[in-house]
């Protein structure tokens, strides 16, 4: 412990050097903006700023780029809450309760709790990263294809808590997401599926394009309709800041989200997204009033926003302790480190302590910066809601389409987003939930890939799952998530399944 404190002292010393403070600040600021603006995600944003790190110290380079990464996790909630437009995939689940809070005049508390939750979770996450890095890395390695498959099944089981009134409709929506995930070049065989000879579709459908189309475009369509009918009401903002009562209500969710998010972050698979969906489900399952979720429950914002931040810390572990970039974002960090002459390896902490500990030190500071940066912004963001809808909607639509285009600079994506927007509008009218589509799309790829890798390894035998205690545990947990509420809440609330 004393040793860790010494190292941390060394790391803070590096992070507090004026130039590194500046880099951390730039990283956090750009990250927040990337998170706020829908479209280009943290990986893309980091890749854009790599040229800024040419010729810099490796520690400065990684401090800057990592700042973008966790900064984006802060910013992602803003548009989810205010406009029902997820800034990036990890914030999709935040739209469920965040946007409802905003419609009820509670955008301020929603944004504040997202920022405070992110700060607490980010700080807990980096503390856990510092203390538990190497042992957690061993846990991550236990997750081979079989375990990853089970984890994805577990992740998918959360669909039952996102489904709203009808589990059946939730399943239909998530199946649609799973189907979208099959578009593109199939990894195990390289065969093209559902690409219709369009080269752009070979890499599949981009998650953020689907998220913006499905959520933002359809939101505008249905709001415009409500407006014409005179039904579109956003209640006046009654208070900008969080009440103590709100905070008390959320603190458990923030802490649970922090630890759960960190754990999921270390594991392979779409860490931030899975973490945010799982923590939302956890809160809903633990709550005495699960029916409040989806209606503007503050815990439904606090939990996923905390989880995606600590997941960002967890996801750094495989890179820092083993030199293995496990996600698109950490792959950019890996590349950037190579460029500065540092080869990430299991010896990073020994060979380049300035990089590893400097990064850890800067993350404590960066989290504080982000809180200071984001809390005053709440007052600014809330003002957006005062804009008359007839001005606001076209602007949101424009920003959304710029965002879609920025992902791959492809006109086809604009068309896709429009089609999905119309589809999302129909789904809303028919009362189908939208979030399960994103869940299915994010997990579908990994789910299928992991299953097929597992079967390649085992030579086609399913016995491999039996032999993995981790996989079996996750299957049981998944079954529990699906089955328990049906048992527990029977008679208490209306049965979840439609007659």
């Amino acid at each position: 412990m004393i040793e860790i404190m010494n190292h941390l002292g060394y790391g803070l010393q590096i992070a507090l050097a004026p130039i590194n403070l500046l880099y951390a600040f730039i990283g956090c600021l750009v990250g927040t903006l990337i998170g706020v603006l829908p479209g280009i995600g943290p990986a893309g944003g980091m890749a854009l700023l790599i040229p800024l790190t040419y010729g810099k110290e490796p520690a400065s380079a990684i401090i800057l780029l990592a700042g973008i990464y966790y900064g984006a996790m802060y910013g992602g909630s803003t548009t989810s809450i205010l406009l029902n437009v997820p800034g990036e995939a990890a914030s999709v689940v935040t739209t469920l309760d965040g946007y409802q809070m905003a419609r009820k005049g509670r955008a301020g508390p929603a944004l504040s709790i997202a920022a405070i939750g992110s700060f607490i979770a980010g700080t807990i996450g980096v503390a856990l990263l510092m203390m538990l890095g190497p042992p957690m890395a061993k846990v991550a390695l236990q997750f081979g294809p079989a375990e990853t498959f089970a984890l994805m099944v577990f992740g998918l089981s959360t669909v039952t808590s996102l489904a709203g009134k009808s589990v059946r409709k939730g399943l239909v929506a998530s199946t649609f997401g799973l189907m979208l995930a099959t578009v593109g070049s199939d990894l195990p065989t390289g065969i093209l599926r559902f690409t219709f000879d369009i080269p752009k579709l070979m890499e599949g459908v981009d998650i953020i394009v689907v998220a913006i189309g499905l959520f933002a475009v359809s939101e505008i369509l249905s709001s415009a309709e409500e407006m014409r009918a005179g039904e579109f009401v956003v209640e006046k903002v009654d208070r900008i800041w969080l009440s103590l009562q709100d905070f008390r209500r959320s603190v458990g969710a923030i802490l649970r989200g922090s630890f759960l998010g960190f754990l999921i972050g270390v594991l392979p698979g779409a860490a931030h997204v899975t973490a945010s969906f799982l923590s939302y489900t956890l809160e809903k399952r633990l709550s005495k009033e699960p029916e409040r979720f989806g209606q503007g429950e503050i815990r439904g914002v606090a939990a996923p926003e905390s989880a995606n931040n600590s997941a960002a810390c967890g996801a750094l572990i495989p890179l820092l302790t083993m030199g293995l970039p496990a996600s698109a974002v950490t792959a950019v960090l890996y590349g950037a480190l190579l460029m500065t002459g540092v080869r990430p390896s299991p010896f990073l902490f020994q060979k380049h302590p300035d990089v590893a500990w400097g990064l850890i030190g800067s993350m404590y500071i960066g989290n504080a910066m982000l809180l200071i940066l984001n809390l005053p912004l709440v007052a600014v963001w809330v003002k957006i809601l005062k804009t008359p809808p007839r001005w606001l909607f076209p602007i949101v639509l424009a920003i959304s389409f710029v965002g879609v285009y920025s992902v791959n600079r492809s006109a086809l994506d604009l068309l896709l987003a429009t089609i999905l927007g119309v589809l999302g509008y129909c789904m809303r009218r028919l009362d189908y939930p939208l979030a399960p589509v994103i869940l299915g799309l994010v997990l579908g790829d990994l789910l299928e890939q992991a299953l097929r890798q597992t079967l390649m390894i085992s030579g086609g035998s399913l016995e491999i799952f039996w032999r993995s205690p981790i996989a079996m545990t996750l299957f049981v947990l998944a079954a529990a998530v699906v089955a328990l509420p049906q048992v527990l809440y029977r008679g208490k609330v209306k049965p979840a399944v439609e007659s």
């Binding site: 700023l49 390289g190 792959a331 590349g335 390649m456």
Partner: protein, 329 residues
């Protein structure tokens, strides 16, 4: 709302600033910023080829115009190639990274385009194939692994990062062929990238790793994995100095993945010449030598007719292999 607009603007300016951070103006070609396209996600081999070259070219002052690295992933390079051939055929200011992935893809007919549809500029270096196991594996040497493999051809699983028919799969198939093993029993597991394949090896989920020396350099150095053999016809230096070549064990397989750049089909002759000469100067710099050593890459510089012949020969070889391996009809 005005404030929101201002933030938006500030964001765009900041992000854009990353692109326009350089100042340069000089007579002659290139008179505009140059785009290096990595047809894959950041962090991979093509991305590194672009970024390392861009860095050395800037540092050595060989290109004064800004070089912007753009990632355009999809279909193992097909998306970028489609864009260049269809929409940017006359673009003088764009280079795209390519590698043996293109020739293997052509051999198994996975890419509608070929190197004849674009202008190959240069091959810059090669990364040799490597076979590795976890440090506590029961296979102390390549010989042990091969003997066990012969006894149970389906009992050894290899993790690699190319799709079936891709380079890593071909490497395993070439080894099996050299040993006379039945190809239908091979157990090759495709992962999304070298890092995922390595993680599966380190977690003990597969028996062995097949990939490139550059991908495992960090782990070989730190001793978490044991490189058993290099698939090359010459000894590597540095970290891999003591690792034997597969052919020393009678498995006569050499498999190198070269990397380089191609340009638009209608690049002007003088501009092509500029890049051939510039890359020729780049590979002679000290900075480039450092890059090669750090990445465990081996130098190979080919342009013009030599490059053409090299590509033709390689394609013919992979076409034969693909037929023999039953990857194409």
């Amino acid at each position: 709302m005005r404030l929101f607009g201002r933030f938006l603007l500030a964001g765009l300016v900041l992000v854009g600033g990353g692109l326009l951070f350089n100042d340069a103006s000089q007579a002659g070609y290139p008179d505009k910023p140059v785009e290096f396209i990595a047809p894959a996600n950041p962090g991979g081999g093509w991305d590194l080829t672009c970024r390392m070259s861009a860095q050395v070219l800037k540092e050595a002052g060989l290109v004064t115009q800004p070089i912007v690295v753009v990632n355009k992933p999809g279909g193992f390079g097909v998306v970028a190639m489609t864009d260049i051939t269809r929409n940017r055929a006359k673009d003088q200011n764009v280079l795209v990274a390519f590698s043996a992935v293109l020739t293997t893809q052509m051999a198994i007919k996975k890419n509608p385009f070929t190197y004849k549809d674009v202008t190959p500029v240069a091959a810059l270096f090669v990364d040799y194939g490597a076979i590795a196991v976890r440090k506590d594996s029961k296979y102390a040497s390549f010989k042990d692994l091969v003997e066990d493999w012969k006894k149970q051809p389906g009992g050894i699983s290899f993790a690699g990062s190319s799709p079936p028919g891709g380079l890593d799969h071909i490497r395993i198939a070439m080894m099996a062929k050299a040993l006379g093993l039945p190809l239908k029993d091979l157990r090759y597991v495709a992962f999304q990238g070298g890092a995922d394949a390595l993680a599966a090896l380190l977690g003990g989920h597969v028996t062995a790793f097949v990939g490139e020396a550059g991908e495992i350099a960090g782990h070989a150095e730190s001793g978490t994995i044991r490189p058993l053999a290099i698939l090359s016809d010459r000894k590597l230096t540095g970290i891999f100095e003591k690792v034997p070549m597969a052919k020393e064990f009678g498995v006569n397989v050499s498999s190198a993945n070269w990397r380089g750049f191609y340009a638009a089909p209608e690049i002007k002759k003088e501009n092509l010449k500029f890049w051939e000469e510039t890359f020729g100067k780049m590979v002679k710099t000290k900075q480039w030598a450092d890059v090669l050593e750090k990445q465990a890459w081996v130098d190979l510089f080919l342009t013009g007719d030599k490059l053409q012949k090299f590509l033709d020969d390689e394609l013919a070889m992979y076409q034969n292999l693909a037929k023999e391996l039953g990857l194409v009809q």
